[in-house]
Each structure stands twice: as C-alpha cells, then as structure tokens.
Symmetry: C2
Subunit: 231 residues, 2 copies
Amino acid sequence: MLKYLEIADKMEAWIIEKDLSQGEKLPKLAELMELYGVSKSTIVKALERLENRGLIYQVQGSGVFVRRPKRADYVNLIDNNGFTADLPTHKMASKVLTLRKIKPPKKVQAVFGSEQTEVYEIRRLRYIDADVLCLEESYFRTDIIMYLNEQIAQGSIFNYVRELGIAIGFSDKYLTVKKLDQKTADLLGVKTGDPALTINEIYYLTSGEPFDYSTTTYHYENSKFFIQSNA
Amino acid sequence: MLKYLEIADKMEAWIIEKDLSQGEKLPKLAELMELYGVSKSTIVKALERLENRGLIYQVQGSGVFVRRPKRADYVNLIDNNGFTADLPTHKMASKVLTLRKIKPPKKVQAVFGSEQTEVYEIRRLRYIDADVLCLEESYFRTDIIMYLNEQIAQGSIFNYVRELGIAIGFSDKYLTVKKLDQKTADLLGVKTGDPALTINEIYYLTSGEPFDYSTTTYHYENSKFFIQSNA
DNA sequence: GAGTGGTCTAGACCACTCA
DNA sequence: GAGTGGTCTAGACCACTCG
C-alpha cells in the first residue's frame, strides 16, 4: 500500500476515534513526519487527500485543522462510498424490481457508444430503515461487468465491482427537480405531482471508459444531500 | 503568481481554445516540463489541480486526457465561480428585494457564533435571461464584509468580496427538496406546492471562519445542476 | 521575528499500459 | 520491454500567521 494513502487513512481513523470537532488542531508537519517516519512531501500529500475529502483544512503559517460539519443523515454527493458509509446509523436495504440483459436503450447507447450491444438493466427500490429512499434504474456494460444476479443487486453493486478488481475512476452527475409521474410516485409511495430530485450519473473506469449509467429518483421527504467544496 | 497555478490556467485556456473534447490526449509530462521550463513536480501539481477541477483525468502508464462532458446550461455545484462562469451564454441579472443591517436570526447565530451581533441580510431574485432562476437569502458578517450596498448586490457579491482581498476558503452545502409555500412560489412565479430545490450554504474564509450563510431556492424548471466527482 | 505551512527542484525508483 | 505516469526523498527557499 502507498505510504501517503496509508498515512491519510490512519489520520482519518484517528480523527474519528478521538472524535475531534471542527477547528481542532492537528500536530504540526514536523511532528507528523517523525511520527510516521516519512519525508515532508509525503505528509503534505496525505494532508492534501484529507483536504480533498473534506476532513481538514490547512491554514498557511498557522496549522492544520479538523473540518467536520455537524449535520448527520445527509447523503454525500462527492464521495462515492454508497449509502452505507453516509448513513452509518441506519439500516439500508434494496429490493430488486427487475434485472435483465438487454440491448441498450438509445439514451444509454449515446453514452456507452453504438458498438455496445448488450447491457445489464437493474431497477431497484432502496430503503432507509423502513422508508423508501429512492428508485434507481441503472445500466452496466456486460463486457466489463460480466456477471450479475439478484442477490448481488440486493447489496452494494459498487462493492461487488471493486471486489472484481475493477477500478472506478470518476463520475459525472446531473441533478434536476421535477414533479413525479404516477408510476414513479406509486413506487416511492408518494402522490402523483409530488416533487422529486433526479440524479443522472455516469461512472467511468480509471481508464476513462464509461461503464455505468444510472438514473435515481429520490423520495423528497426521506432524502437530504450535502457537498463539501474547496473552491 | 505561483508557477503551478499559472501553468494550470494556461493549460485550461489551451484546452478551451483548442476546443478539445473528452478523451483527447495532452502532451506527455516530459514535453510539458520543457514547454513550461519547470520541474516534473510542478507539472504534476498543475495537472492535479486540473484533475480536481474536473477538466482532465490521468491514466498511469498511458497519458493525460481531457474530461469535458457535453451538457451545457448546468450550474456547477463544486466550483464557486458564480453563475456567470457556469452559464456563459446567458445573461445573468439580480434584483435586490431587501438589503439591511440586522441582528442575526437564531439559525444564523448558530453558525456565526453568539458573539456575532450584526449581519447584512440580503434577499434577491436572480434571473437567467428573462427567467427567474432562484430566490436567495444570504447573511454576511459585518465585521468581515464592512460595507455593502444595493448596487454591489445587483452584481456578484463574491467578486466584490474577492476584490476586497478577502480569501474564500471552502464551503458546506446542504440540499433538500420541498413543496413551495405561497410566498416563495409567488416570488419565483410558480404555483404553491410546486417543487423546488433548496440549497443551504455556509462559506468559510481560508482561516476556517464562517462569513456567509445563505439559503437559495431554485425554480425547478429553469435550473439544472452538475457535479464532477473523482472518487 | 519565530514558527509553520507551501512551493519548487533534481533525481531515484516504482507501477501501469500497450504494442 | 519501451514508454509514461506516480511516489518518495532531502533540501532550499518562499509566504503567511501570530505573539
């Protein structure tokens, strides 16, 4: 394992274990260098990672401080760690509505390329505790994800993908708000015309190839989101 | 100006000028080093910045490639460059509804601290071309932003803040979806009960001190959002 | 002005991709 | 196996904060 990632993970665990709160100061660079037995640049790189993940902020000439806003129960829109990581105090579950191998619909072919002849289509309802969180419709390239079944789709598909040794690189997410049609409203257990946030996502491998296209519609009363930004 | 920032800006301008599209390859590191006359680490750092801004992706052993998803007219939720940067082909305008110095409401005091005795409150409607984009209610600390007037609030407050030499560090954003009450719906020109996305934001200085608290409610038909994520 | 973080360099070595 | 990006080091120097 890479040194800077290992150090970043240890620091993250340390912050969480000690339950440090916003504004608390971390040891200075020189101490961290000695503590972990590495050069300055390696510490700097580990801190950069934590900064990008929104766990700390650095103030030149002053120190490194913990960044941990207080609100819970919000889904993180930047980390792609899945709901289990975002909502640790809740029980997550999925009900698979359909799972099949099909020819990609046009909107999906537009993303994967016209040479893509087959995809997995998965539709599932995701629950937080006893409540509906969202309806998800996703498409995976069958030449990358060779095998999928209902049992896998009941858990975290992304964890399964990572276990296959497939490296997820980055993603584009598009958000819109709309009034629900009757079919979707029924599935979510709300009224036709009620509001919903729809997030359209494209996930890419580290190589830049798209492999997952999904559209998720969230129950407006059961979902809240947050973003930690550095700009 | 810092070398790596200067190089990153030049590369960004170059990508936009040449109108490179997703997947196109940039020159290799050795060439970039020579081109800009700097060491490898400086190029690496410039590329890291572009990667974080979602403009490129790097593939070890292969090359550096352009990342530019095709959809326009989406508001970027990560960059805090304001609508003008996100929606370059549109005319943006603001109408100031109220601007006053007041004692902070409780929700604002909870963020700024109870020692904060005075804030600017600004409520404005923001337009995209001829359409209402959003209703924004924001609070600024008067000990940091000493002066504000209606003319400034008609333009970009953040640009004004930067011109004052105040360095914006990072922000937390919380998103929820709801049905509009009558007052807000009237202002946005939609019906009571229509859907809306509400984004609650807290902006911090580089020192970690919060200085702006705002709540923005978006017109659901006139607004779309995107996020480019690297995880 | 002392302390602390940020930038930059040159160079060694590692890890991945692709023909 | 050649090519290309990623990590890591040691050290010089710069820039900001704070008492």
